[in-house]
Subunit: 594 residues, 2 copies
C-alpha cells in the first residue's frame, strides 16, 4: 500500500538549501551559468518533481515486483520503461549539466542534483538507465575523438541509445588491476575484444535499439596491473552498411539482485564468436585514470541515491506515524488511542531519520556546489579550493547517505511495526534498495581507506585545512546568528580533535606504518562523517534563523541540529581515541580464529 | 548458493559455554534435573544438531523461495513441512523442558536453548511451528483445568495438533488493552467468540489436522483496558461425535512477510457464522497476566532466533571470506590475489559479527541458566536471586541479538560484496529474517521502556544490585586469571557509571517526571546492553585462560573480548551523559515539524 501523498523529498527543504543556505543564484554570475536564473532553475526542478510524483512513483512497485526476465538470450525489462525513459529524455535529464556545444543546458550540478534526487526517490531503477547513459556519454565527451563523439556520444545524449559502465570482472571484483578482458588491435581502427564482465547494470533491455558499453580492457602486451588498462566503447550492435548488426556481446546471465529490481544487472561475454569490436577511447593504458576522473561524479550520484532512498522511506514512515492510531502517551489514562507520532520513541525514530536524510542532502548540495565552482569558478584560486574540498568530501558524500541511510531505512520499517515487515508497504523495498549503495562504486570500506589514506593526506593536509576553515566560518556565522553556544563549542572542539587525530595518523603513515595509520579507517570515516554532518546542521540552523521560512521549519531545523550535535558529534572524542589507540584486535586476528 | 559446510553454530563455542563457562553439569545436582548428566545433554544436542545440518538447513532456501499460498480459504504450506515437523517431534523438541508428568524430559532450559538454536539457525520458520506449539501447550499446562489439559495440551505435546498465540488485533497493535474480540458465555461450558486477529503465525497450514489458538478476548461486561482480558483456547476444528468439525475460525488473509517465509502469518476471523467456540483458560480477566508469565520465555526465544539468524549468516560470510580471493594486503606489491580474510577491513566486519553473535549466545545461555535456577533452584534465596536477574536481563536478551544481530546480518552481506546483494547467496535472506526480531514480542522500543521503566526500577533497585555483584565477581575472577587489567578497570568504571545514571533517572521517575526518566530509554538500553555483553566477554576471556580449549579459541576469545570492551564499552560514558542530559530534541518535537 503506497501512501499516495508521499512527496519524495520536502520541497521546502530543497528551496531552503538552494536559495538560503547555498545561494544558488550567485552561480549565475559565473560565465558558464550566465544564461540561468532562479526562474530556469525552478522551472527545471518543478517539471522534474511533477513527473517524478505523477508518473515515476506509480511505476516503482510494479517494477520491484516484476523484475526483468532473461529469455531467449535477451533481457525483457518492465513494459513501462520505454515510455518513462522517453519522458525523462524529454525533460532534459541526459544533458542538463552538459554544455550547449553538445546540446546541453549547462545547468549547475547543484540544481541537477536536486532535480535528479526526485527521480531517484520515485524510482531509482528507472532513473538508473539515465544515470548510466549520462556517465557513458560524458566519458566519450571528455576523452573520445571527434569520430567517437559523433558515432556514440550524440546517440547517447539524444536518448537514442543507452550506455553502461563495464568495469567489474568475476575474478577481480573491486581489484581492477586484476582484470583480464583483452583487446587485440586490428588494422581497421577497432580492437577485437574478448572477456567476461559481471554486475553490468543496464547492459540489455527493451528500451532502445542499441547500448554502448564503456569497458575496461587490456591491450595485448600492456603493462600488468592498473597501468595497463584502457577504455573502450563497445556497442551491443555495430553499424554496418547503414544498419545495426550484432557485435558479439552476449548476455551470459542475469543476477538476481535484492533491490533496484527494475534495472537488470548482467554477466556479459565479449567476443564469444571472435567478432566483438571495441573502439579505444583516448590514449591507451589511461583507462583507470579516465574512469577515476568521472569517479567523483559517480560517487556523488551514489550518495544522491542513498539520500533519495532514505528520503522517500522517511516520508512514508512519517505519513504512517501521523495517521496510525495506537496506544496512549506517557501518563495518559484512558481516552482514545493517539497517533503514534505522539509517542516519544516514534519521534526519536523520525527525528533520527530526518537528521540523516536532510543532513545528507545538505552535504550533497554542498559538494555539488563545489563541483560547479571547481569546474567553472571565476578564479584559479576559487577553482582549486573548491576542488580540494570536493575531493576531500566525496568519500563522505558517497558513504554517509548509504551507510547512515541504511540505518534510516531500517527505522522507517520499525516505525510501521508489524506492517513494516510486509511487502504490502513500501519501506521494506527501500531498505533492500539502499543496501546496494554501501557496495557499488567502491564499497564503504574502500571509501574509508580512500578518505584517510589519500584524501585527508593529500597536498600536505591542505584539504583538511580548507575544511576546517569552512567549518570555522560556519561556527562564526552561527555565533553571530545567535545559535546556542554549546553547539558552536561542540563543533569547535570536534574539529580540533579530528585535526590532531589526523596529524597523528599521518605521522604514522609517513613513518611507513600503513597498518597503524589505516587500521581504524572505518572508525575514522565514522568520526569524520559525523563531524561533516554536524557542520551541515549547524550551518542550516544558523541560516534558518534569518531565512524566509516557516516557524515550523525553523523549529524543526533547530531540533534536528541539536539532536545531531548533542547525540552524534558527542561521540567524536571516543572515536578519535579509538583511531589513535593501538586497539589491534582484528588487525592481528588470524584466519583460524574465526 | 548455500555454503554446504555451514556449521550453523560453532560446536566448540556451545561446549565452552555449557561446560566451562556455566558448568551445566552442576544443574544435575538439583532435584528436577537429577536424572540428567553431561551424557544426556550431549546426546540431545548432538541428535538435534545433526538433524539441523542434514535435514533442516537444505529446506531453508526452498521454503524462503516458495512461501505459503492462500487458495480456497486455506493456507498451503511448503510440502517439506509435515515430514520435518514429525522429525522435530520425534527428537523430543516439544516437551524437552516439560516435566515427566506431562510426558517431557525435564531438560534444563540451558541445554534446550543451545539445541533449539541449531534448529532456528537451520530453518527458523520450520522450527517456528514447534516454538508456537510449545508456548500454547505450556499456557494450558500452567493455567488450564484438567479437562482442558486432556482436550488440548496432550494433543499439542504429542505433536498431533499445533498451537498459536492470537494476541494482536488490527486496530490495537502493541496496545493490548484495546483489543475488542468478544467472548459470550453459554450454558455449555464454552464461550461464543467474535472478533478479528492479525499477524497470527501458523494459524493455518497443511501439517496437522487441527490447530489450537490461544487467544485473548473480552468476556461480555468485563472491565475496560488490560484488566478485562481473558485467555481462551479456540481450536480451528472442534470435536463433535468423535470427529472434527469446523469451529468457525476463518482465514481472512495472508500477510506477505519479507522473511520467515516458511511460516504463514494470517488474519483470522472468529465467529463469522456465530458459531466459534472458545474454552476459558484459568480465571476470567487474568489473560494478560497469564500471557506475561510466559513472556520471559517467549522473549528469550526471540533472542535465540536473533542469535541463530546472525550466527548462520556470520558463518556464511566467514566461509566466503576464507575462500574468495581478491586484491592484495597493505603494502603487498604484485603476486597472486589473497583470500579476502587477509584484508583488515574484512576481519573487522567478521570480528564485529563474532563479538555480537557469540556475546549473544553467552547472554542467552546465562539467562537460560537463571531461568532453570529460578524454577528449580535448591533454596528460596537462590531462586529469588535468579528470578531477579532473569527479569532484569530478559529485555536485553530479547533486543541485543535482534538489534545488534541485524547489524551483524548487514555486515555478512557486506563481506560478500556485490555477491551479497544477490539472492543466489543466503545472507540477504537472513537479513530479512532478522528484522522481525526487532518487532515481535514487544518492539525493541517497548523493551527499552520495560527495561528502564520497570525492570531496573523494580524492588528498590535490587535487580541492578544483583547484576553489579555478578559483574563484580566476573571482574575479580578475570583479575585472578590474569586478564589485561585495563579490561577489568573499564568494566568496573562502566558499571559504576551505569549505576549512577540509573540512580539519577530513578529519582526523576520518583519525582513524577516520567518523560525525564524515560525520554532516553533507547540510549539507556544501548548502554545497558553494551555493558552486559562486555561482562559476558570478560567472563569468557577469564574462563578461557584455564579451559580445556584450543589455543586458537583462547586467542579468538581474547581478541573478541578486547574488541568489545575497548570499542563498545568505551561508548558508555557518552551514552550515560546522554541519558542524564536534558537533550529534548525529539521529546519536544511537534508533529508538524516532521
Amino acid at each position: 500500500m503506497a501512501i499516495e501523498s508521499n512527496p519524495l523529498i520536502d520541497d521546502g527543504l530543497v528551496d531552503f538549501l538552494l536559495y538560503s543556505v547555498l545561494d544558488a543564484e550567485s552561480l549565475c554570475k559565473l560565465d558558464a551559468y550566465a544564461q540561468h536564473s532562479k526562474e530556469t532553475f525552478d522551472l527545471y526542478i518543478d517539471s522534474i518533481r511533477r513527473f517524478a510524483r505523477q508518473d515515476l512513483l506509480p511505476s516503482y512497485k510494479p517494477m520491484d515486483q516484476e523484475p526483468p526476465q532473461f529469455r531467449d538470450g535477451r533481457i525483457h525489462t518492465h513494459p513501462a520503461l520505454p515510455k518513462l525513459y522517453e519522458q525523462m529524455v524529454e525533460l532534459g535529464t541526459l544533458t542538463a549539466t552538459r554544455p550547449e556545444s553538445v546540446g546541453g543546458q549547462q545547468m549547475p550540478m547543484l540544481v541537477h542534483t536536486m532535480a535528479s534526487a526526485y527521480l531517484m526517490a520515485a524510482n531509482l531503477s528507472a532513473y538508473g538507465f539515465i544515470g548510466l547513459t549520462v556517465g557513458a556519454g560524458h566519458l566519450i565527451e571528455a576523452f573520445g575523438s571527434d569520430e567517437l563523439k559523433e558515432r556514440f556520444m550524440t546517440r547517447l545524449y539524444s536518448g537514442e541509445w543507452t550506455g553502461t559502465m563495464a568495469l567489474t570482472e568475476p575474478q577481480a571484483g573491486s581489484s581492477l588491476g586484476d582484470i583480464t578482458t583483452s583487446a587485440t588491435p586490428t588494422d581497421d581502427g577497432y580492437y577485437l575484444i574478448k572477456g567476461s564482465k559481471i554486475f553490468i547494470s543496464g547492459a540489455d533491455h527493451g528500451i532502445t535499439e542499441n547500448i554502448v558499453n564503456l569497458t575496461l580492457a587490456r591491450i595485448d602486451g600492456a603493462p600488468e596491473g592498473t597501468k595497463g588498462i584502457s577504455l573502450f566503447a563497445i556497442p551491443k550492435r555495430r553499424e554496418e552498411n547503414g544498419s545495426l548488426v550484432s557485435n558479439d556481446v552476449t548476455v551470459a546471465g542475469m543476477i538476481h539482485k535484492i533491490g533496484w529490481r527494475g534495472l537488470p544487472s548482467l554477466a556479459l561475454e565479449f567476443g564469444d564468436e571472435g567478432d566483438c569490436r571495441g573502439w579505444l577511447v583516448g590514449e591507451p593504458n589511461q583507462g583507470l585514470r579516465f574512469m577515476f576522473q568521472m569517479m567523483n561524479e559517480a560517487r556523488i550520484m551514489v550518495g544522491v541515491n542513498g539520500f533519495a532512498t532514505a528520503s522517500v522511506a522517511y516520508h512514508e514512515s512519517r505519513l504512517y506515524a501521523l495517521d496510525r492510531k495506537q496506544g496512549r502517551t506517557f501518563g495518559q489514562r484512558g481516552g482514545e488511542p493517539v497517533s503514534i507520532i505522539q509517542h516519544a520513541d516514534v519521534r526519536r525514530m523520525l527525528l533520527r531519520q530526518k537528521a540523516i536524510v536532510e543532513g545528507s542532502l545538505a552535504l550533497l548540495a554542498t559538494v555539488s556546489c563545489y563541483s560547479d565552482v571547481a569546474e567553472h569558478g571565476g578564479s584559479t584560486e576559487e577553482r582549486e579550493r573548491a576542488q580540494l574540498l570536493l575531493d576531500l568530501l566525496t568519500p563522505v558524500a558517497k558513504t554517509f547517505p548509504a551507510e547512515w541511510g541504511f540505518q534510516a531505512n531500517a527505522l522507517a520499517i520499525q516505525v510501521l511495526g508489524g506492517y513494516g515487515y510486509t511487502s504490502e508497504y513500501l519501506p521494506e523495498s527501500y531498505m533492500r534498495d539502499q543496501k546496494l549503495n554501501t557496495l557499488h562504486e567502491g564499497t564503504n570500506g574502500i571509501q574509508s581507506m580512500d578518505l584517510l589514506g589519500r584524501k585527508v593526506m593529500a597536498k600536505g593536509g591542505a584539504p583538511l585545512r580548507a575544511l576546517a576553515e569552512e567549518i570555522g566560518s560556519t561556527i562564526a556565522r552561527a555565533r553571530e546568528a545567535g545559535c546556542d553556544s554549546d553547539l558552536c563549542s561542540a563543533l569547535e572542539e570536534a574539529i580540533a580533535i579530528v585535526g590532531s587525530a589526523t596529524m597523528e595518523l599521518a605521522q604514522r603513515g609517513m613513518a611507513g606504518d600503513a597498518e597503524g595509520m589505516l587500521g581504524h579507517s572505518w572508525d575514522y570515516l565514522d568520526m569524520f562523517a559525523t563531524l561533516v554532518i554536524g557542520w551541515q546542521w549547524l550551518n542550516m540552523a544558523a541560516v534558518s534563523l534569518s531565512a524566509p521560512i516557516s516557524e515550523a521549519r525553523k523549529s524543526a531545523t533547530d531540533a534536528a541540529s541539536k539532536y545531531w550535535i548533542r547525540t552524534e558529534v558527542a561521540r567524536i572524542p571516543q572515536l578519535a581515541a579509538l583511531c589513535r589507540s593501538n586497539e589491534d584486535s582484528y588487525l592481528r586476528a588470524e584466519p583460524g580464529w574465526f
